[in-house]
């Protein structure tokens, strides 16, 4: 599915998120961390490290990665996969920026609710 045929939910302005930072979006099935990179790309991952449940939204964002604040696991923002020697992954919600607005994919959100 590409961006044109998908339904998107608007969650706010790109400028609401600090560069190399993240904000939290609350949903019925747990929080999502929405990241903004230095190049103004946005990514969304479940706000829960698979290791010990650390809030990834509170980690340091570097390049296309975030480091969990509790025990320094590093995740790829685009795939949700742990980098380096650690093994694990975080569910990804598709995210994009349109006209300064941050959008999350409705089907991904719905799938999270269904699970």
């Amino acid at each position: 599915m590409n961006a044109e045929t998908r339904n998107w939910v608007e969650i706010g302005e790109l400028s609401d998120i600090p560069r190399e930072g993240a904000r939290v979006v609350k949903t019925a099935s747990g929080c999502i961390a929405v990241f903004r990179t230095a190049d103004d790309e946005v990514f969304a991952l479940d706000d829960r490290c698979p290791h010990k449940g650390g809030p990834l939204s509170q980690g340091i964002v570097h390049g296309l990665s975030v480091t969990c604040p509790l025990h320094n696991w590093v995740f790829d923002l685009s795939t949700g996969l742990a980098r380096g020697a650690d093994e694990g992954s975080v569910p990804v919600t598709a995210a994009r920026v349109d006209n300064g607005k941050v959008l999350l994919a409705a089907d991904d959100l719905a799938r999270r609710t269904a699970e």
Binding site: G12, I17, P18, I60, G63, P69, V74, L109
Partner: protein
């Protein structure tokens, strides 16, 4: 096999280890019900001595907590004593009724042997067996001038005696035999041990036959056969243990000294197994942990129908008394067919004795210097013929073969199952095989793949030696350790280049110094941010996105994602108004935990992130500012009450502490900086283990630095003496600035000082007045930009985005 019912009686070390093995190999084989007489989970009983001595806490010695049992589906019935076994109907009975079993494991351990003398039941007479005994002894030791008599000069009795002495009690040890620890030591080593303990103020009375414990309502004294009377507030019986076999005897199992078991740990009833200190195997009862663990392995296999047999092995003994090094193994009685080799060095307090028979080591006793213990023990177990090395045998491993002493040899000689990293439970074999499989050549690589040396770091040296052994010349520890994977440059070069090339932003550093990644990583970003804050205080705009979360939201993240908040209490002083404000905040925000910190302040734990600004607003109204308990920066200045109140105080230590804290708060440092000021050399503020400490004396102020009381323990070094408070503040600030300018990020002051050299630091701060003045001025300049209370800033709206969700997506919107 599922739904077979396994009932385990006794929740001690042996049964805990057996369940571990059972769940590893066949997690679903049994539904397990565990009965334990003690109302708590399983803990490492051998570590009770360090708990009694105050060197460890109970939590540190817990091996299986409630969560572990729950995770493995064990039904725990702690505090419930099994009173009978009905072998016909296969049930056990407790006060709560009957529980059925298919297989039963008895692991009731042992009971302390109480010598049958008058007064043995008086309050104040304790065994040394479980945590309740430890608690009672700690209580007794809390009374000033309290006296203890320990009956029994064996392993357990001496550990108890040393621990009680450490807690300040007057201690007498009564021992029936002619010398201490006669089962493990020969008379000569026993004598050396006695001298050492007497040197610590413990009185030792050998050949002491206890006649009665005297006292009306409680124990007051111990009377010996020879008429000697020792006053005692506490009497500790540590004369031995006997297997706890009552339920086995009552149910008609075969019991001699202990419950009789075969090589598979089966009792005389094949559906009932027994293991641990309560059993007797081939006429022997066991009390040391290693054979018990072997039994646990065998019992687990028997339960799932695998073949295994218990084969007792020799065990070595070590006394757990801090500062006493003692090692004994094997049989060291004298005999006509035996020879011995003895080495004595009286002035060094070293004694070594090997007992040989037919050129094989039969026993070893080492006192004062025990590093070769495991090497001797290895030869003992293997029955090595030592005739070739007999001449130099007693000097140990390093003298064999004439090869020069190689520090890695000891590591190379370790068996594969030797534990290297205690934090993460990583053994040598795992590290070596991972290095080979993954082709690792750096310490960071080993850390990433094995987790060894990844937690507290005290095993780093061992891991590096292992890498050397495994990799040989391919490992070059002398190479500069890069800051992180983003650059080949070390911290020193980066700091130097930031200054010399006048780099004033993180992107500038990464560009100019050719960083290999686009945005750095979570290691280098906070380091660079600190270096820039420290080097360009007036020009650099702090990059909050490069700070660790605690410094970004000015509170400490906890494991559940909530935060803790610690307001500043200058010099540890507070008031009714402040305490009332804290109480009100705790009530208003339902804060679940309030705790005193080690730095004389109050910690509120479990606060939701959204509540932080409101909590700070209320605290701010009472005059509180952030205590920066989360910062790589100035934390606290701990003080004693000094000349204001104390009859020994020589100076106003509290006042100086408050002045220092008010002058220095807000400054960022490479790692946290904790200080203390004590009003006299009694040092109640414990200034001599701080990053920087001051001891007040009549003639002025003695400045200390580079202490540590965390991962490492280290007393401070003396920087020097100054006459006035103003001087003390200037010297301390100058020292801090020197550390700020040279320290590597996350390097505590004691590590920095060791790297730079204590004398060099004294030269620059104490002897070179111009240099000191320059450091001091730079510190003062930097403080102009640093002393802004971050809490009040955030109460007024700064970084609002940190504390609120960006959006709330409802189920409907998502669908």
């Amino acid at each position: 096999m599922k739904n077979q019912k396994l009932v385990v009686v006794g929740a001690g070390m042996a049964s805990g280890r057996m369940l571990e093995h059972l769940f590893e190999t066949a997690a679903d084989a049994y539904d397990v019900t565990l009965f334990g007489a003690e109302p708590r989970g399983n803990y490492n009983r051998i570590m009770l001595s360090p708990v009694l001595a105050g060197e460890k806490t109970f939590d540190e010695i817990v091996t299986h907590d409630a969560a572990w049992y729950e995770q493995h589906g064990v039904t725990c019935r702690f505090g419930e004593t099994v009173t009978a076994i009905d072998r016909e109907r296969k049930t056990v009975r407790t006060s709560q009724g009957e529980t059925a079993y298919d297989k039963l494991v008895i692991a009731t351990g042992s009971a302390p042997f109480i010598i049958p003398v008058a007064g043995k039941d008086l309050p104040g007479v304790r065994a040394f067996r479980d945590l309740d005994d430890v608690d009672a002894m700690v209580d007794a030791a809390g009374k000033p001038g309290a006296k203890a008599v320990v009956i029994g000069g064996g392993l357990l009795g001496l550990e108890a005696a040393a621990a009680l002495r450490l807690r300040g009690m007057e201690v007498v040890v009564l021992h029936l035999m002619g010398h201490l620890m006669e089962r493990q030591l020969d008379p000569a080593a026993g004598f050396l041990l006695q001298k050492e303990l007497e040197g610590r103020g413990i009185k030792i009375h050998c050949k002491a036959q206890t006649k009665a414990i005297l006292g009306e309502e409680k124990a007051e004294a111990v009377l010996l056969d020879d008429g000697t009377v020792y006053p005692a507030d506490l009497v500790v019986m540590a004369v031995g243990i006997r297997p706890e076999t009552r339920i086995a005897t009552d149910s008609g199992l075969q019991v001699d000294r202990g419950i009789l078991v075969d090589d598979q740990m089966r009792s005389s009833d094949p559906d009932i197994l027994a293991l641990g200190e309560c059993v007797e195997h081939k006429k022997t009862c066991y009390g040391l942990v290693a054979p018990l663990y072997d039994m646990a392995k065998v019992a687990a296999k028997t339960l799932i129908g695998d073949e295994a047999a218990f084969r007792p092995v020799e065990t070595a003994t070590q006394l757990k008394v801090t500062g006493v090094t003692l090692y004994s193994a094997g049989d060291f009685a004298e005999g006509d067919d035996r020879e011995e080799i003895v080495l004595r060095d009286a002035s060094a307090g070293v004694y070594k004795r090997l007992v040989l028979k037919d050129n094989r080591i039969l026993g070893a006793v080492l006192y004062g210097e025990t590093s070769d213990g495991s090497w001797f023990f290895d030869h003992l177990k293997k029955g090595t013929d030592v005739s070739q090395m007999r001449e130099t045998l007693i000097f140990g491993q390093a003298y064999q073969g004439g090869a020069p002493l190689d520090p890695t040899a000891a590591v190379a000689a370790l068996p594969d199952d030797a534990e290297i990293c205690g934090c993460n439970g990583v053994c040598k074999g795992k590290i070596v095989s991972t290095i080979k499989e993954k082709g690792l050549t750096t310490l960071d690589g080993v850390r990433a793949h094995t987790k060894a040396s990844n937690s507290c770091g005290t095993c780093t040296g061992l891991v590096e030696q292992l890498m050397q052994v495994t990799l040989g010349d391919a490992y070059n520890p002398a190479a500069v350790t890069p800051m992180c994977g983003c650059t080949p440059l070390g911290h020193d070069e980066v700091r130097r280049l930031i200054k010399s090339r006048r780099l004033k932003s993180i992107p500038a550093v990464m560009q100019e110094l050719e960083w290999k990644t686009s945005g750095g990583c979570a290691k280098c970003r906070p380091a660079l941010n600190y270096y820039l804050v420290s080097d360009w205080p007036d020009e650099y705009a702090d990059d909050y996105q490069s700070r660790f979360i605690n410094e970004r939201v000015h509170a400490n993240i906890q494991k559940d994602g909530t935060y803790s908040v610690v307001p500043r209490m200058w010099g540890g002083m507070t008031s009714s108004k402040e305490l009332r404000a804290i109480a009100d905040v705790v009530d208003k925000f339902n804060i679940p935990a309030v705790k005193c910190t080690g730095g004389q302040r109050i910690d509120m734990l479990g606060i939701r992130k959204e509540d932080l600004p409101a909590v700070w607003a209320d605290l701010g109204k009472a005059g509180f500012v952030s205590g920066q308990a989360y910062a790589k920066g100035l934390r606290t200045v701990k003080t004693c009450v000094g000349s204001d109140w104390c009859r020994f105080g020589t100076q106003d230590s509290t006042g100086l502490g408050v002045k220092l804290e008010k002058f220095m708060w807000g400054s960022w440092t490479p790692a946290k900086l904790k200080m203390a000021v004590s009003g006299c050399p009694r040092n109640c503020a414990e200034a001599t283990c701080k990053d920087i400490g001051i001891i007040c004396v009549d003639s002025g102020y003695e400045i200390h630095f580079a202490g540590a009381a965390g991962l490492d323990i280290k007393g401070t070094e003396v920087l020097g003496m100054v006459r006035t408070e103003e001087d003390a503040i200037e010297y301390v600030a100058a020292l801090t600035q020197m550390y700020r300018e040279q320290g590597h990020y996350l390097e505590r002051i004691y590590k920095w000082a060791k790297r730079i050299g204590y004398d060099e630091i004294r030269r620059q701060i104490m002897d070179d007045a111009a240099m000191r003045k320059a450091y001091f001025d730079r510190f003062v300049f930097s403080q102009k930009f640093a002393q802004v209370d971050p809490w009040s800033e955030r109460v007024s709206g700064k970084d609002k985005h940190e504390f609120n969700p960006m959006a709330v997506v409802t189920r409907e919107a998502a669908e």
